[in-house]
Amino acid sequence: MKKLDRRDFLKTAGGAIALGGLGFPFILQAGKTKARVVVIGAGYGGAIAAKYIRMADPDIEVTLIEKDKRYVSCPLSNEVLSGERDVKSLTFGFSGLTGHGIKVVNDLVTEIDPVKKIIKTKSGQNFSFDKAVVSPGVAFKWNEIKGYDEAASKILPHAWKAGEQTVLLRKQLLSMKDGGKVYILAPPNPFRCPPGPYERAAQIALYLKHHKPKSKVIILDAKDKFSKAKLFKQGWQQHYGDMIEWVAGAAGGIVESVNPKARTMQGQVEEYKGDVINVIPAQKAGAIAFATGLTNEKGWCPVNQETFESTIHKDIYVIGDSCIAGSMPKSGYAANSQGKVCAANIIAAVNGGEVPEPSYVNTCYSIIAPKHGISVAKVYKLKEGKIKGIKGSGGLSPLFASPLTREMEASYAIGWFKNVTADMFT
């Protein structure tokens, strides 16, 4: 257990000056830049890694490269579909991060050279780094459902990255006739936000119940099981009766192709026709992870689960949805937790400390109705090199709970959103 105190630190720094000519890494002298870290992606993982590195060690230079001018949160974006909130309430700027001394660059990373340790961007900028953190979220497997590509998503929105797509899906719901059929195509595992499609069904039903009560929401699922299933089915029934229908993969839920113009879907058993169709495609690691060769044959990034350093490229860390993080789901909270473990490791590596023993948490709320929230949680530790849930910890909200409990969980869902985004952006 070695932590660096000021005396040790000055000693090390002094030593580094003496050894400077011998190519001693990173550390130059106290108060000066010890290392350059470049973080790619200002979402639930990247913003946290950048901020927590700076909070613990202001002598590390941190550059955060984000392709969008503002960040739009996916968590709680299902509430835009019901009309409970707007996209603006999910949108965040980066001035808080700048306040921590992080250099925020609005650009798209096109290349990471893992040998020369240089990051190149679309606008032609180059950034050299000692450590890079890659947190690009997910990319979609276009055409895994035949006919569903990026162009088709302008007609049949995925709304699985919040912003324009969310607004498009909301508009289609608004212009749909009463008695219409809304289809949600839920993706195969693993994917971002496992309870998301089922919360979405509830939020869409919340809108329809009040404005188009003869309509239906049908989930065509690629899977036979889903997250928090009993709690969702109970909540759907309680608030929306038979409005929501779930079709398991084995019961004909697997869709093989779509025809965007005709708004039809060819299932394994029958053809479906919808008024609004939300296709959530199968997923893989973000594009830059592929371009850098950080992915495995399954399309996700293997990492040392103790540190989040890539097992393929040294000094490049992958966090959030793109990485393979043992038993942790691909969620916002998981990315937040991974960002902090990664930050602690980068700080230790730069300062010559030991690898800290990691602790990880996931908490995930879903809002079925305005006063009906449910959750799943878990505390994790490292066991034989893998992230494993701690026995006895976490689990689901109880299936039978008082209305006050459900109401409190709904308020915690919104409280969580406020605090987790404040943790990221202030």
Binding site: K3, N336, K340, T363, A377, Y380, I390, G415, N419
Partner: protein, 195 residues
């Protein structure tokens, strides 16, 4: 300043290591453990959201006992029991210590003047004997002054609904039982309005 704090935590972590080395090869530092709380309770426990309590700067003894009560189920919760069961008692104490050493950042909320007045009267009559100094004293008790009214009201409602089986003192439980929802809300606004 940051380095100094890390040193303090380091010393604490060494203590933790000596007592828990039988269970795990390497202890998780108080900072590592506590950073996982921030997703719901805000950076360093300075909550930015009404339903979640501010825990940074809260009494160490209170935090430690409360986490253990959540873990054992003695104190009812929606999610805190599930979370607390992921940590050893020593780890919960480490989290309590870390959070207690953080600055208290008062809730930024508007309170209702009429309710604050009503709450002040109720406080003087019902609560001041223990929650001294308008709820600002933090020795062994939770700091109530400057806490979010949403959180306080939520907990009081829960205590009111549950009644009997709570770790809170008998007198407090009895008094909460006798107050109406409006009165509990007024009390919450009063505490939130205090420094």
């Amino acid at each position: 300043m940051r380095i100094k704090k890390i040193t303090c935590l380091g010393i604490f972590a060494v203590g933790l290591f000596l007592t828990s080395s039988i269970l795990t090869a390497k202890p998780r530092t108080p900072e590592m453990l506590s950073n996982t709380c921030a997703g719901c309770h805000g950076t360093n426990g300075a909550s930015a959201a009404g339903p979640m309590p501010i825990i940074g700067g809260m009494s160490k003894r209170y935090l430690s006992q409360t986490l253990k009560d959540y873990k054992s189920g003695k104190r009812p919760s929606t999610i805190m029991g599930r979370i607390a069961r992921g940590y050893s008692d020593l780890e919960l104490e480490a989290i309590a210590s870390f959070m207690a050493s953080q600055p208290w950042v008062k809730a930024k909320v508007k309170t209702n003047g009429k309710m604050v007045k009503e709450g002040a009267k109720l406080h003087a009559k019902q609560c001041e004997t223990c929650h001294e100094n308008n709820g600002a004293n933090t020795g062994e008790l939770p700091k109530l002054s400057g806490q979010y009214p949403d959180y306080l009201f939520g907990q009081l409602r829960l205590f009111h609904e549950i009644g009997g089986s709570l770790p809170q003192p008998t007198q407090m439980r009895k008094r909460i039982q006798k107050l109406s929802a409006e009165e509990l809300d007024a009390l919450s606004h009063f505490y939130a309005s205090q420094k």
